[in-house]
Structures are given as structure tokens and as C-alpha cells.
Symmetry: C2
Subunit: 434 residues, 2 copies
């Protein structure tokens, strides 16, 4: 089936400043066929969609998520980090069934589709449930099971992860890319990381890992191994694979040199999570000076509360400007690039671009909203004024997952209902879960 | 006419942690009559509104705005501050007519009503047009004309401001509170500030002033007068009036002692503007230690891009946490208080509280949205997950300005149309204004 979408504005962010007024995009199957000005003599298609006030732009990629943690949204906010994790989150997670995780992931998917996210990298457990939810949702996902070395002395979980990966490589219809997810160097010792790195190489799998998220982590690794996060990643062979580094805010200059030389992949910045948990602000300029790709992620909803990548773009721009005291640094275009081609390139995808031959992953923002009026600069409006709530259409791999603000891929209210019921059970009525 | 609104949840933030499940609020004229659990034997009213999934909460107050600057939303983003102001904003403002400002203010009003703001403090020019727009919108406003000392050697503009104030005190129906608006100590010399302070005392008017917004300002005042912003405010008599201090991020410890002793009013923090313009982060804890009230504002849309106070609550919490590296500091409740009773107390209003006898200024958030599911902690959801787009009802001074997402007070699309036409004229077609 071949589609044409005609809209007031198309954003083509691979070419600097490229905005097409009164344009059209056509696609078939999973791929974009053409992008350009309206053409009355264009060949016929099966379906034409006209959105005069629509702004068509590449869909956003969320490079670091724990999607099912929507189940714990607002569960323990404003706690010190270790209390949050040890006293609240881990005991709650211990109660989650694979069905809970299926519905929690699907709720996250609904939220992502609503807010213009077309693909996400996930690290969680019960990854069959995660993958089933992704399949049903229509989104793309780079999925990994979080592996903790101490819990896996016999490498059983690593082996399960590999078996799972080879199954879903086949089943995922190109929309599911399995990865390996060693949690972090402070929860996986060097021997374990070595085994993961070797398995990843053997099976040609990317690696998703938390690295240099907090100053405590740096001190702990120094104390325990007398090494930095990048040294550990290099020496264990992790860097011989494509690596998605989540957070990456506390790398030393030497670390950055190591990454510049050895890293394929890049850093996914999670500005809201890093600010809200008090961990810090990514030194973006320095990382760019080392030619390390940077993408954007939300982290889990238990810490970030929403999965709206428009919010992450804003937060990243504000935080970069206040960090450097230079308001002309990290422009709206930089934010948009980070959330589109930035994340896609970390993931090894050619998404994030509206151009022929690229994946048909795009969204439409309703440009007729009051807070997007007037329109001096459409990119500034999208980054600084729009929110996920302004997205009216979400298209992933050529499939329309939301049209006119209605999710067509699955029953959103059933998902809400399931999540409310399940969290009521979790709380045992005690915690006030609705 | 007497109303009763029955809703799933009512937030009563004056009492810590007070959330009423299955509650009702009744009001008549401009005042709240009762707030409490659903009562089947409640006396009859003229209109009952039932919103089972609604979360009724106090409306948000925006303590620092230049509302008509919506006309310049996105006009010159990502420029260094002085280039932004001198090269772009001031020349554009010089072209604005009073009719432009009327429509720009009304566009801001539509945006504020949509995003749950019930009242705002404004500083701009053509204040008759501002006040007319506020009257038509149904919002509350604390309005001042921005006064620049150098432009007013004969005090003509100060006198016009006083005449305007005495007129609108009568006409404003209690919804318009005129103030005097000396722009800042670096644009108004001490003699001018003395004259403003004296006039304010004589006419019993509050003062709205930018103070300690940037480090450059501190250096400039030191160089020019060998004084700090608070010393100037004290010595010119400004502090003998109620004062709304916009920004206030760069006060010294001595300054804070002066303000603790002499200030009636308080500081309005504008976290997004301060971050985006690279000016810094309010030292909230230190200001609270000096018992100085703190409220929340957006600043103008030319720098902040949107007027969504839910966004400001989030930004303030994130920035306070990343500034202190203490995630348990500045909780969701602190953010909500700052945007409700905090701003109201700076303004000398008893709004921001759902209780009998207080102004009927409140909003309803649609709790059925996916990104507000589940609901472990309704305050965390409101602050960290909701946006202005989740507001379904806005009630100001007892009048329903928006119902089910439709603005009933005026024709929103006419306002958009006017603003688009007028900015097209401003741009002369050259700047790409839509």
C-alpha cells in the first residue's frame, strides 16, 4: 500500500535549515519513497492524507528507557537515590510478573506513540514480555535484558539472553533489534563484562550499558579496581562491539580520548533523569569535541515520570545553556538533531531523516495550536514550545500508529485499565495506587 | 449563580499532603463556598458539573510575564543575550502598535487559560491595550507599564502610569491590580527609582522590578554606583512598598539580609528563562533560609517560548535538584506551592488555596491521560508528568473560561488569525513569519 501525506511544513533536518513549505511525503511498506514540494502531477497512491496545518518531522528516538517502569511512575519521587532504589524500586520490581511487564511496556508504548517517539532502546527483565508488547504496539525497539554479574555466576542469564536474542532476531520483523544489557561496571565485575563482550562479538549484538552516570560510580570503580569506566570498558573488550552508553556525564578527559579512539556507537544523554536524581549535566561540548555521537533518552518513568522526548529536547537545551552560561550554545537545531539522527546513529540506524530510502518513521505536529503561534521559526517552536501533546500522527515502519490523536494500533483504554488494576494489586491497597 | 463541581480528586495544598478523594467544590460569584468530600445532602445549586476523572487543583499564578511578547515567540532564539535584545527584540518591539499588543496579550491569555494559569503579573507598554485584553479574557492580572528612567526625564511616563492606574483600579472589577513597573536599576537611575517609590507609596501601588537577573547587572551596578541591587532598592525607598522582584538569582548574602528585614512581597523565579538565557539558577534554599517568599513566573514568550506553568514547576524542581545534587530537595509539593500560594503571597493575594472564602480560581486536570497512569502520587503526577495540555477546565473569579478544553470566554481562532496577520506585517514577509 502506497501513501502520500500532504502538509503545510516538512522538516528535513539532515540539511541545515531545510524546511519545505507545502510539501508531501510518500511511502510504501517500511520505506520513504519521496519527500519534496507538493506535486499535482505526482503518481497516484492508495491513500492521500491532507493536513494543511501539519508539521511533518522525523520521529524521535528514545535512546535509553526502562519502559515497564511506567508501572512505578511517581512511586517514590524526591527520595535520595539509594533510598529510592533499594527501599522502594527494587522491592516493588521484585513483585512484577511478566504480564505486569507486558502491560507496563504497552502503557509506555502508548505514551511514546502519543508524544511522537517512533523507536526506543530498552533495558529491563522479562524481555519476552517486552518484545511481545513492542510487537503489538507497532514501535521499533532495541531491547536488552539487564544483566547483573553477581546474580549470574553460572552465566545462565547471559545464555538465556543470547537464546532470546536469536529467537527475536527472526520474529521481530526488523522492528526488534536484540542487544546485550550488562547493567553497569559496578554491578558486573570485569570477568563478567569480558564474557558479555565476547558473546556480543560472537553473535554480532550491540551492547547497552550504564556508564559514568554518577560521581559515586567513579569513586567506587576507582576504589574497587583503580580504573575508570572507560578503562574498564576498553580492557574487558566491551568497546570491541557497538555500544550504547547511557548517561556518560562523568567521563574524564582521558576517558573521552579512549572513547574517541575505540567507541562505535555513542552516548545517550538523559538530561531530565540526570538533573532530577541530582547526578549532573552532560558536558556536551567536550564530548562533541571528541567526535563522540550523542543521542537523547528519557530513562525510566519511575525517575523521569514521563517519556515525552519533546521535554527531553527542551531540558537538554536549557541545561546546556545554563551550564555554559552561553545561550547561543546548543541551539534548537542541535536539540532536534540529538533526538533524531543523534540517537539513530548511536543505535546504528539510518532513521531520523525524511528522505527517500530511509525508514518511514515520522510524526505530524499540529501547527495550529495557540502556543505554536506565530511561527517565526518552526524549529524553535518545535523544540522550545511544542510538547508531545501536540503530536497528531505517528508513523513507524510505514504503519500509522496514531491518527488525529487516536491510537489505532491497540486499545489504549484497555492498557490503562490493566495497569491500574495491576498497580492496585502491587500496592495491596496500602500505597494509594489508583 | 451557584455551582458545584464533583470530581475524583481535589488537591488542597495548604494542608500538607491533603488530597480529597471523591470530593466537591461549590462556588458563587467570585468566591469558593465549600470544599470537601462528596455530599449527597448538599444544598441545591444552579449548575452541577461532574468530572469523575478530574483532578481539581488551585489555578497557577504566573508571577512575571510580558504577555504580548507571544508576538515574538521564537523570533531570535539561541542568540547571545545582548544581541537578542538590542539587534532583534527592541527593533521589533518599536514597530508594535497598541492593537498588536492587544491581540498579543489575548493570545497569551488563551495560552495561559489552556495551560491552567488563572492570573499573571505583567510588565509591558501600551497598558490600556493590555488591560482591555485581560478584561476580555477573564483572567486576573497585576499589570504594570515598564518604565525606563532615561526615557522619562520629565516624569511624564510615570505620571501617565499613575493616571492609568487610578483609572483601571475602578474599571478592573477586582481582576486588574495596577502596579508601577520601573524596569531595573540599570535602566532607571536612583533619582528615578526614588520618584517611583514615592509615587507608589502615595498611591498605595505595588512595584514590579527586574532585580539581580544576571551577573553583568551586579558588576554594572557596582561599577556605576558602588552598590548592590538590594542596597539600591533600600536606599531609594523602593522597599517601602510591596515589591515583586523578578528573577533575583544573584543576590549576595548581605543583599538577602536586607531583603529579609525590609521586603514586603518576594522573589518571582523564572527558571526556564534564567536557564535558557544562561543567567543561572535561583539559590532557593538560601532564599528560603532568609524567609523571603518565592513564587514562579515564565518571563516573556520571546525568551521562554511557552507560558506553561507546569513546565516551569518541572524546570524549577530539576534545576534545584541538579544545583544542590540532592534529589530530595525541592519536592513536587514545593514546586506546587511555589506556583500557587508562593506567587499569590508575593502578589499579596489570598489565591492558590481551595478553601471557603478564597477566590474561585481553580483548574481541572484530566487524570485519565495515559502519561498520568498509574497514580501512586497525584502531586508527583501533576508536577513531574502533567503539562498544561492536560488541563480541561479553567475557572477564574468564579467564571468558567475553559470547559472540556474549549475556551468559552472569547474566540481563540480569531485571536490566532489576528496574530498571524500582524506578525506577517511585522516581518514584511522577510523573516518568514507565518
Amino acid at each position: 500500500m502506497r501513501y502520500r501525506l500532504e502538509a503545510g511544513t516538512l522538516i528535513v533536518p539532515d540539511q541545515d535549515g531545510s524546511v519545505i513549505r507545502h510539501g508531501q511525503i510518500t511511502w510504501e511498506g517500511q520505506e520513504i519513497l519521496t519527500v519534496g514540494p507538493l506535486d499535482e502531477n505526482a503518481p497516484p497512491v492508495d491513500q492521500v492524507i491532507q493536513i494543511p496545518h501539519g508539521i511533518v518531522m522525523p520521529g524521535l528516538y528514545n535512546g535509553h528507557n526502562h519502559a515497564a517502569m511506567t508501572l512505578l511512575r511517581g512511586y517514590a519521587d524526591d527520595s535520595p537515590f539509594f533510598e529510592w532504589l533499594q527501599t522502594h524500586i527494587l522491592p516493588a520490581e521484585a513483585q512484577l510478573t511478566s504480564e505486569d511487564i507486558y502491560w507496563g511496556t504497552l502503557l509506555a508504548a502508548a505514551e511514546m506513540i502519543r508524544s511522537g517517539t517512533v523507536g526506543f532502546a530498552d533495558m529491563y527483565f522479562e524481555v519476552d514480555a517486552v518484545a511481545e508488547a513492542v510487537m503489538r504496539s507497532g514501535l521499533r525497539s532495541w531491547i536488552s535484558r539487564g544483566l547483573v554479574g553477581d546474580d549470574d555466576p553460572t552465566r545462565t542469564k547471559l545464555q538465556e539472553s543470547l537464546d532470546w536474542a536469536s529467537r527475536w532476531r527472526q520474529r521481530g520483523d526488523g522492528r526488534i533489534i536484540p542487544m546485550l544489557g550488562p547493567h553497569a561496571p559496578y554491578t558486573c565485575d570485569p570477568d563478567y563484562l569480558r564474557d558479555v563482550a565476547q558473546a556480543a562479538r560472537a553473535e554480532d549484538l550491540g551492547i547497552h550499558i550504564h556508564l559514568a552516570e554518577s560521581e559515586d560510580e567513579i569513586h567506587l570503580l576507582k576504589q574497587r579496581y583503580n580504573k575508570s569506566p572507560a578503562e574498564i570498558a576498553l580492557e574487558t573488550g566491551i568497546l570491541e562491539n557497538r555500544v550504547l552508553i547511557a548517561h556518560g556525564i562523568h567521563f574524564s578527559d582521558d576517558d573521552l580520548k579512549v572513547l574517541q579512539r575505540h567507541l562505535t556507537g555513542g552516548i545517550i544523554s538523559c538530561p531530565v533523569s540526570n538533573a532530577k536524581l541530582g547526578n549532573g549535566i552532560l558536558p556536551f561540548q567536550k564530548i562533541q569535541d571528541h567526535q563522540i555521537p550523542v543521542g537523547l533518552g528519557s530513562d525510566g518513568a519511575a525517575s523521569t515520570n514521563t517519556l515525552d522526548m519533546f521535554q527531553e529536547m527542551k531540558a537538554m537545551a536549557w541545561l546546556q545553556k545554563v551550564r555554559t552560561h552561553e545561550p547561543h550554545r546548543f541551539t534548537a537545531k542541535d536539540a532536534l538533531k540529538t533526538a533524531t539522527t543523534g540517537t539513530a546513529s548511536v543505535l546504528g540506524s539510518d532513521g531520523g531523516i525524511l528522505a527517500a530510502g530511509h525508514p518511514a518513521d515520522f510524526i505530524v505536529v499540529d501547527g495550529s495550536r495557540t502556543h505554536l503561534t506565530p511561527e517565526w521559526d518552526v524549529i524553535a517552536n518545535l523544540v522550545y514550545a511544542a510538547t508531545g501533546a501536540d503530536v497528531s500522527y505517528t508513523v513507524v515502519a510505514g504503519q500509522i500508529l496514531m491518527a488525529e490523536g487516536i491510537i489505532t494500533a491497540f486499545d489504549e483504554s484497555e492498557v490503562q485499565h490493566q495497569v491500574r488494576d495491576r498497580t492496585r494489586r502491587l500496592s495491596g491497597g496500602a500505597h494509594g495506587g489508583l
